[in-house]
Symmetry: C2
Subunit: 214 residues, 2 copies
């Protein structure tokens, strides 16, 4: 199973503590300024992606001197930088799991661009491989089916966020639902696991599950 | 025109600088810990709402001694604290505009509960009165129609985030669209005003517009 970490160029204040120290041996993709941040933390990304127009000349040179596979993209293009990072993790590095860092915080239009891309036809099938991770949140996406969730040790809360119309069953969490019809996106927040695992199922569209802590 | 400010109990790090100093004469509603924060900043909220179970005895006493209209709600109830804050601003204080602070940052399940409540039948018609405001973002909601937007001075970026299927026209912004069909929620981010105002129209569901800055 190949795990690829993607560091986006967003704000750094919500990155998990010691992320790059703990993940120094992982496969990394750096997106725009994310590439420089990885290098400055002793990690050479497998691939650097972006237009790099936010980097100064000496910063870009640092990226160019370290990274073998640099993919330049024009700022006016069919994909956002974040989409390219996910797409290339999937297609070029054949990732089974894609952990995305730097996707939250700061400008909410950027956050929503990152968060909502998985509803598009092109990214829908990559979505189940993706986790968006920050200091307090772990976001995952699911296509219709039956699932077993595993509690993340330090996360107390479990939220189900249907992103589409669906019928939803929460089998064995603190708050349960039985084939409940949801007709618009909504956040069922502050649910909890009763033990180490929980089960849920739904029949249509896409589900987002967030494990979080205060 | 009556403006009501609502301070939710979420993290304080994304509150606009000097918010309570600048808005000391405004009508305020405090939600849960938000009530205490207002009082500690010299503002007596018109109404304090919540179960207040996160407050210590002496903190709750401080709220009780200062606020005339306190509305206690059981933690297991039909509405979230945030929903109650919005609902009471609308119904009890007859707000024409509702500015919501403390709705972003921290736990994303809470943010989504705040953000997505406006898609529900009950809150859909309050949505056009609401602005969700933090240090970098100004979020507004629109029902189908034709609109003129006014640029907020310090916000460079303009994003259109259709929350439903719709046909969307952006008339005179940096990037335009002509009756473009959107079939799932998506963030058209990093658009910009060309002057002080911009026009857009759409025919179905709900639109979110975010003005933001880096």
């Amino acid at each position: 199973m190949r795990v690829v970490n993607v560091l986006l160029g967003g704000p750094t204040d919500l990155l998990p503590k010691n992320l790059m120290l703990n993940e120094v041996d992982a496969d990394w993709i750096g997106v725009d300024r994310g590439s420089l941040r990885l290098i400055e933390n002793g990690i050479i990304p497998s691939i650097a992606i972006g237009d790099f127009d936010s980097l100064k000349a000496d910063e870009l040179e640092k990226v160019r001197s370290k990274v073998k596979d640099i993919r330049y993209f024009n700022p006016v293009k069919d994909y956002t930088d974040s989409q390219l990072g996910i797409k290339i993790a999937n297609e070029s590095l054949h990732a089974d799991f894609i952990n995305v860092y730097g996707a939250t915080g700061g400008r909410l239009d950027h956050f929503f661009a990152n968060f909502l891309m998985f509803l598009s036809d092109e990214f829908k099938n990559i979505a189940p491989k993706v986790r968006i991770i920050d200091t307090q949140n772990d976001i995952r996406y699911f296509l219709p089916g039956q699932y077993t969730l595993h509690k993340i040790l330090d996360k107390k809360y479990l939220a189900f966020i249907p992103l589409t119309e669906m019928n939803l069953t929460l089998n064995d969490e603190k708050y349960t639902l039985n084939n409940f019809h949801v007709n618009h996106p909504i956040s069922f927040s502050s649910n909890e696991f009763l033990g180490d695992i929980g089960h849920f199922s739904f029949d249509n569209g896409m589900m987002c599950v967030i494990q979080s802590k205060d």
